[in-house]
Each structure stands twice: as structure tokens, then as C-alpha cells.
């Protein structure tokens, strides 16, 4: 019979006597011991059956602390270890390793949280001590039912799927390919380049964004290990780390390599539509290039705008345009997946700072397009009329918002985070305006100027020297944009100047620029598919901001760039390189180790009722028709235990959380409970 079988006495050891448990209680330098009487906990738990030692240590996670555990395991021949310390999310792995070093199976170790869930949440010393004692004693009982578990090794296919063809996806694809990994790069739009292509020059170097991007794209598309798909939508992803299978739908581009006269074909098109590349400021044809030098180097057809009139076919030389293209599907096998789905600029709400009410209110992204020599106005700002151009920048639009002050977003939240890129970008644009219009008068309404990066502060200094007027407003009293009542200028920005005690100011402006923040590109389908963790700011959430900054909690899925948070191009490239190297490291290792916390079916108890098939979120359970039993696919099982809860005959047990283990824990937690049980009757400390 399997050791998981629940047939035996649940509170007894699984294989007879001989359980020798070592209990270690950490003081965490007072974090725990200031509230919890750790000596009392050790003394009480030390009396429990099977406990060979119960010791207190100041910092058990320190090297001497870990050495103590190892030493006691050897000295007292411990075969179970219970540790009462901080949260297992922090140090469970540390101690599993320590236990392993001493030759004990790491799954015979139990971590009890007496800091985050005991000492930090109460000031009641007596109650905290009782609670800690119960939790530790329950863990001691639970460990009696633990069995040694071995980590599973899953082989990794040496290929990667990179989702997103902006700068993050391109850098990740390039770096992975350079390490010899086969890469499939997919982009949902018809052209690579992403948001970076919409920039003109980059801070802090002043390089042309599209020139940098062109070099990067060349490196990627020329690499024989990289296969690129545009117009691609992820339909479905199956499998687990090492053997993902992703089904992708490729929408027809309408144009292939045989097109000879792209320029004539575009000129012949009679249909025009709003250019999303220029944030609605310009217009483009239904067959179009997104931007000069884009890749693939052939136009694409916007099927929403195209009427299939056929004029582009004849003008283009008769071949290379397919107006009747059909979408097709591909399936991409890959060992790892890199998400580089990017961001969207914050779209101000209707009427937010006059946006969409006054045509002279634009976003920073729109201003960047207007200042771009290849943009919709060839780099000129809309007519300034007589006299010098007056421009007002309002910082922190759609960022660092306050509940109750700013209007809520569609999901009921406000964007309380700093969008990080907009301060320097706004100053960068302000200086560009001064270059083009040396007599321009620029006012900048800000909460705080955050030019945090290398070389960014220089923009602030130069803007100050150039006479940009900085007006600090109270974050809870944001400026207002109004029609100029005196008619001197089209608009006026009203704000209280915080630095002079909130004195009200009115600054007439020809153009008001909203330094809009960034929001994550909507990837709710991918979030569902890959079960990504999402932060309260809606950006994808890494496992740990410092220890595992580019990994999702889903093994084998990595985060590159602004899908994770606001970043500028420099930071995005760094993040993408980091994601690529983590992914490559996993591939180089050849296999990944997975927790053995998975479900197992006891053949003797299984009746073949198939209840478990319906509840498994991973389709990891199948039925063996020959034996009329169900079996769990170990590679697919993620270890949630939902089937174990559903099984009517208790034939499925989840390793690490068997019925016997949880019940023995409960039995001790509830010892002495029931009618009239008093906490105070059990112990006299306080």
C-alpha cells in the first residue's frame, strides 16, 4: 500500500515509531521574541511525542543558525525538522537546502510562520505565545505524517517563444538567438518595432529612435535562428515549462514579397483612415507602411479600412497583393516563453484637463509625433499665431493619482503609481520645442520632478537654464485647463503654486501638453492563459522584485520590459536582456526541477467515478479504460489539490497535503477546544 494511504491511524507515524523531530524557534532578533515567549514555545513543544530537541536561536537563517540545524540533524539523528520563524514565502527554500545538506529529505521539513502571522499582528503577549505554541505543536504532529519526496525533473526543449515585437521582444529574441536558442518572435501588429518606433530621439543620448531600432531589427531578422510572425494572435497555450505548445493565428497581411511597386500601390489606394501610429493626429491609406524603415519591408493592408476595390493591385504591378487572403494557424512548441507585451500610453478620460474638448490639449505622445520630422506635421507645431509660442506641460497625468481627487479608471481604481518615464520625456520634448522655437515660453506644472536616471538630471538643468518655468502644484489640487477668459490665448492653465503657499496662477497657453503616464497593454487573454500574477497597478507581477525580478510565478514564463511596469528604452532593454539570460540559463540547464507537491491516485481506492476529471484545471487527470482507474499526468499536474478535495473515496492524495497531514495538524490546533475551553487554563505564562 502506498504510504499516502489514509487507512492507518491518522495521528500515528506512517511507518511505525522512530520519529525524531527537531524543533527550532527563531527570535528574529526580537521581531518574534519581543512578543512571543520563544522559550515557553520551545519548552511546551519539546514535551510533544517524538520531539528530540526544541531549541531557540536569535537568527536561525544566519549561517551559524543553519549550521546548528545541520549539526543537530547529525548529532541527534533527526528525521523531521520543524522551524518556527518568518513566512515560508521568504525562507522555506533556505531551510529546505540546509536540511538537504545534512542529508535529510527536504520535504521532511515544516516551516511555521510565527512572525508575519503571529508576532507582527498582535500586541497580546499571552495570546501570541499560545497561538505560536499551537501552530508549532500542530506542525510537529503534521511532520509525523510527512513522507520523503523527490523533486521532479522535467526536460526543457531548447527553444523560446517571444510574445511582442517591440524593443523588449527584439532584444530578448536577439539575446536568446545569440546563445544558440531557436526563437519564434510573434507580434500582434503588422510591423515590428512597437512603441519605440513612435519616438523621435532617445534620451539621454539623443540618438534617433528608429535608427537604433533598425539596427536591432536587422540583427534579429537576419539571425537564422529567429522566425518572426506579424499579425499574430495567441489563441491557446498548453503544456508546462519545458514543453509549451502555443497555438497562434496569423491574420492575412494582404501583401507578399512579390509586390514590386509598393509606393504606387499605396498612392493608388483611395481609402484613408486615422493613423494610430500618429495617435490619431495624421491619416494614412488602407494599404500602408507604419513608418519609414519598418519591418517587414512591405506594406500591410488594414482590413477595417480596405474596400477591396483592387486599385492597389494594378498600380502595384499586378502581383504581390492578395485581397482574398485567409488567416491560418500555427502551433509553436517551445521550452520557455518570454512575455514582452509592452504598454499603452495613458489615454486621458474625456474632459480630463480639457482633453478632447479643446483641440489644443495634446498628450506627450502626440507632441512627440508632432515634433518628429517624419511625423504628421513634419516636425512643426500647429500655428502659434502672433508672438512667441506658449506651451504648458502638465505632469503626472494618469499617474500618481489620488483616490477621491482623480476620476477613477474603468476598473474603479486610480493610477497611484509613478509612470517614471514622463518627467524626463517631457523635459526632453520641452528642450526640443526650445530648439525649434527659441522664443517659446514654456511652463511646466509638476508634483515632483523625477529625473532619476543617468544623464536625466541634465535635462532638468538645461530646461531650468533655458527658462522653462517650473510651477509646483499640490498633488491633491491638480491644475485646471480653461478657455482664456481674456481671449489673449486659446487656453489658460490655472494652478496653485505650492512653493508660494498655494498662490493661484493663470498661465496662458497656445498648446497644453499632458505628460501622460503609461498603462500596461491589455493582455487579459494571456493573463488567463499563462495564469500570470497581476499587480494592483495592472502590470504583470514578478515572483520577487529582487530575487526573481523577471520571472513569473508560472515556471518557464519570463517578463521582458514594460509589461511589468513603466520603463524607458534603456531599462526595457536591460530587463529584456535579463529575461533572455534567465530563459537561456533554464534551457542550458537542460531540465527544470519541479516541486513534488502533486496528486497521486491510490489504485486500491479509486472507483473510476471520474469526478476528478471534471475539477482538474490542467486536464492532468485521465482515465485508464483498461484498469478503470484514473491516473495523474505528473508533468501536467501543478499540485493544487482540487482533485484531492473532490475525490469521494479519498483515493487521491496530494503529496505534502494529504488528508492525514492536514487532519493531524487540525487535531492539534483544536486540542482542548470545544465547550468552554479557556486559553488561560492551559498555561500560566504571559
Amino acid at each position: 500500500m502506498s504510504p499516502l494511504n489514509t487507512g492507518g491511524p491518522v495521528n500515528g507515524p506512517p511507518g511505525g515509531d522512530g520519529i525524531r523531530t527537531g524543533v527550532f524557534v527563531c527570535c528574529c532578533g526580537g521581531n518574534i521574541s519581543d512578543i512571543v515567549d520563544v522559550e515557553y514555545v520551545a519548552r511546551e513543544v519539546g514535551r510533544r511525542p517524538g520531539v528530540a530537541c526544541a531549541l531557540v536561536h536569535t537568527f536561525i537563517c544566519s549561517d551559524p543558525g543553519q549550521a546548528l540545524i545541520e549539526q543537530k540533524i547529525a548529532e541527534l539523528k533527526l528525521n523531521r525538522v520543524v522551524l518556527a520563524a518568518c513566512s515560508p514565502t521568504l525562507h522555506q527554500l533556505t531551510f529546505r537546502r540546509a536540511v538537504s545538506r545534512a542529508g535529510l529529505n527536504p520535504f521532511l521539513f515544516e516551516h511555521v510562520n510565527v512572525r508575519e502571522q503571529v508576532s507582527w499582528v498582535t500586541e497580546d503577549l499571552h495570546g501570541a505565545t499560545q497561538k505560536a505554541t499551537r501552530l508549532v505543536a500542530a506542525a510537529v504532529a503534521r511532520t509525523r505524517n510527512l513522507v520523503p519526496l523527490e523533486k521532479r525533473r522535467i526536460p526543457i526543449r531548447p527553444s523560446a517563444l517571444v510574445i511582442g515585437g517591440g524593443v523588449a521582444g527584439l532584444v530578448a529574441a536577439r539575446d536568446l538567438a545569440r546563445r544558440g536558442t531557436k526563437v519564434t518572435l510573434v507580434e500582434s501588429r503588422p510591423f515590428l518595432g512597437g512603441r519605440m518606433a513612435q519616438l523621435h530621439t532617445l534620451f539621454p543620448t539623443g540618438e534617433e529612435a528608429r535608427e537604433v531600432l533598425r539596427r536591432l531589427m536587422q540583427a534579429v531578422v537576419r539571425d537564422p535562428l529567429v522566425t518572426t510572425f506579424t499579425n499574430a494572435t495567441i489563441l491557446e497555450s498548453r503544456g508546462v515549462v519545458g514543453s509549451f505548445r502555443t497555438r497562434i493565428r496569423i491574420a492575412p497581411r494582404g501583401v507578399n514579397k512579390q509586390l514590386n511597386f509598393a509606393g504606387s500601390a499605396i498612392a493608388a489606394c483611395p481609402e484613408e483612415t486615422v493613423s494610430e501610429f500618429d495617435y490619431g493626429l495624421g491619416r494614412r491609406k488602407a494599404i500602408y507602411f507604419a513608418y519609414p524603415g519598418c519591418w517587414p519591408p512591405m506594406p500591410a493592408i488594414d482590413w477595417n479600412a480596405c474596400t477591396r476595390c483592387g486599385r492597389c493591385v494594378s498600380a502595384g504591378g499586378g502581383k504581390g497583393i492578395e485581397l482574398d487572403g485567409k488567416p491560418y494557424e500555427i502551433e509553436v512548441p517551445s521550452g520557455v516563453i518570454v512575455l514582452a507585451t509592452g504598454f499603452d500610453p495613458y489615454e486621458p478620460l474625456h474632459g480630463e484637463y480639457g482633453y478632447r474638448i479643446f483641440p489644443k490639449v495634446v498628450t506627450l505622445q502626440q507632441l512627440v509625433r508632432l515634433l518628429d520630422p517624419e511625423g504628421p506635421t513634419a516636425g512643426r507645431l500647429p500655428g502659434s499665431g502672433n508672438g512667441p509660442l506658449r506651451v504648458g506641460f502638465i505632469h503626472c497625468v494618469g499617474a500618481r493619482q489620488w483616490e477621491g481627487v482623480h476620476q477613477q479608471q474603468a476598473d474603479g481604481k486610480v493610477n497611484d503609481y509613478c509612470a517614471r518615464t514622463c518627467c524626463t520625456a517631457a523635459l526632453h520634448a520641452a528642450l526640443r520645442i526650445r530648439e525649434l522655437y527659441p522664443d517659446a515660453r514654456i511652463a511646466s506644472f509638476y508634483q515632483d520632478i523625477r529625473t532619476y536616471g543617468r544623464g536625466h538630471e541634465a535635462y532638468y538643468e538645461r530646461a531650468s537654464e533655458a527658462g522653462v518655468l517650473f510651477i509646483r502644484y499640490d498633488a491633491k489640487k491638480p491644475p485646471r485647463v480653461r478657455l482664456d477668459p481674456r481671449g489673449e490665448a486659446p487656453l489658460v492653465v490655472q494652478a496653485g503654486d505650492l512653493l508660494t503657499g498655494g498662490r493661484p496662477l493663470e498661465v496662458p497657453c497656445d498648446l497644453v501638453v499632458l505628460a501622460t503616464g503609461v498603462v500596461p497593454h491589455n493582455v487579459s487573454e494571456l493573463v488567463d492563459m499563462y495564469r500570470c500574477a497581476v499587480g494592483s497597478d495592472r502590470f504583470l507581477l514578478e515572483v520577487h522584485p529582487k530575487l526573481r525580478p523577471v520571472e513569473l510565478a508560472v515556471a518557464g514564463v519570463f517578463l521582458a520590459g514594460t509589461c511589468q511596469g513603466p520603463m524607458n528604452v534603456t531599462e526595457t532593454a536591460a530587463a529584456a536582456s535579463a529575461a533572455a539570460s534567465k530563459a537561456a540559463a533554464m534551457i542550458t540547464q537542460g531540465h527544470v526541477e519541479m516541486d513534488p507537491i502533486i496528486a497521486k491516485v491510490d489504485d486500491d481506492l479509486c472507483t473510476g467515478c471520474r469526478t476528478c476529471l471534471a475539477v482538474c484545471p490542467y486536464d492532468a487527470i485521465s482515465r485508464d479504460p483498461a484498469r478503470k482507474r484514473t491516473i495523474v499526468n505528473e508533468a501536467l499536474c501543478a499540485g493544487c489539490g482540487t482533485c484531492a478535495a473532490a475525490c469521494p473515496s479519498d483515493a487521491i492524495q496530494q503529496f505534502g497535503f494529504t488528508d492525514a497531514q492536514v487532519r493531524s495538524e487540525l487535531a492539534v490546533l483544536l486540542e482542548g477546544a470545544g465547550a468552554g475551553a479557556a486559553v488561560g487554563s492551559e498555561a500560566g505564562n504571559a
Binding site: 515560508p88 495570546g127 501552530l135 495564469r531 494592483s536 490542467y618 496530494q654
Partner: protein, 173 residues
């Protein structure tokens, strides 16, 4: 269908000392969201009663209704089950099963004579430390108001099921 009404039973068992009585509440928390939410409450130094004893499971979908009824049978005065917010389950849809099971179990427990306030089922995300602290405060206050459960005694008094067997899973160690 109207909600079944809780049977009126004298909450205090004979001989119990109410002055010293402290409710014992078991909280089943999923590891990825709610357990982290409870950690967040600690990190924020929010205070909640020490009566709440946390049992960690990987997913709220693991919480077998039998574990909950068993906890009551063994003397728990209240049980709380917390899972990830719907849509945020680390295991895709483990909490969907919780969402289906718990309301059903709640009705069943009421049918069996339990006051509705003793069993609660909530979604707590990893960042919702404040929510976790609030819920634990609320359930503790509610259970304290209701008094000791003494379910084994109640069943025994009614001669229901194995009313005579007060140790549902054998003798504790």
C-alpha cells in the same frame, strides 16, 4: 428558496466558563494569494485577534468540505476559508471549485444547526492585508458574540449520527 434558519440552541454548554472562553477559529488559506495576504497584514503591522489559527493549503480548491465539518466537529468555534480573487487563481480555476463548494457547504452547516456567522468564505489577494485583518476581526467578534459552539455536544444531545463518538478521526496523539 428561503435561507434555512439556524436552529436555536443554547450556545453555552453546561459547566463552561464563559469568562475564560476564547473562540478558536481555523482559517484555511491558499498559499499564493490569501496566505500572502495574511503575511501582508503582518508586514503592515495590522492587528487581529490571536484566535485565528492559519492552516496553509496550496489552493483553496484543496479545502475538502470534510476538513471544515471535521474542524467544527473537533471543537472549532468558527472556520474561515480564503482563496485568491476569482480570475487570479494560481491554479487557473481551483478557486472556482471553492466558489461552488463553499456556499453549498454553508447551507448544509446551517441545516445541521450551525449559526451562519461561524463559517465564512472570502477572497483575499496577496496585497489585501487590510482586508484579511478586517475579516479576521469580524469573524472573531461574530463568533465571540455567538459563544462556544460545542458541536460534538450539541449533536450528542440530539442523538444525531455518531453523537456518542466525540473523536471523529480516532484518538489524537
Amino acid at each position: 428558496m428561503p435561507e434555512p434558519k439556524a436552529e436555536k440552541i443554547e450556545p453555552v454548554a453546561a459547566g463552561a466558563s464563559l469568562e475564560k472562553w476564547e473562540p478558536r477559529i481555523i482559517a484555511f488559506l491558499c498559499y499564493w494569494c490569501s496566505y500572502a495576504g495574511a503575511d501582508a497584514a503582518g508586514t503592515l503591522r495590522l492587528k487581529y485577534p490571536h484566535n485565528v489559527l492559519i492552516v496553509r493549503v496550496m489552493c483553496s480548491g484543496r479545502v475538502d468540505p470534510e476538513l471544515i465539518s471535521g474542524a467544527f466537529a473537533q471543537g472549532a468555534d468558527g472556520v474561515l476559508v480564503c482563496g485568491c480573487q476569482i480570475g487570479c487563481c494560481h491554479y487557473i480555476s481551483g478557486n472556482h471549485k471553492t466558489m461552488a463548494r463553499m456556499p453549498l457547504l454553508g447551507r448544509l452547516l446551517v441545516e445541521m444547526g450551525l449559526e451562519p456567522g461561524r463559517f465564512r468564505h472570502e477572497w483575499v489577494s496577496a496585497s489585501e492585508g487590510e482586508k484579511f485583518a478586517r475579516i479576521t476581526n469580524e469573524i472573531t467578534e461574530e463568533v465571540r458574540r455567538l459563544g462556544p459552539l460545542n458541536w460534538p455536544g450539541r449533536l450528542h444531545a440530539r442523538g444525531v449520527g455518531h453523537g456518542e463518538d466525540l473523536e471523529p478521526w480516532g484518538t489524537p496523539q
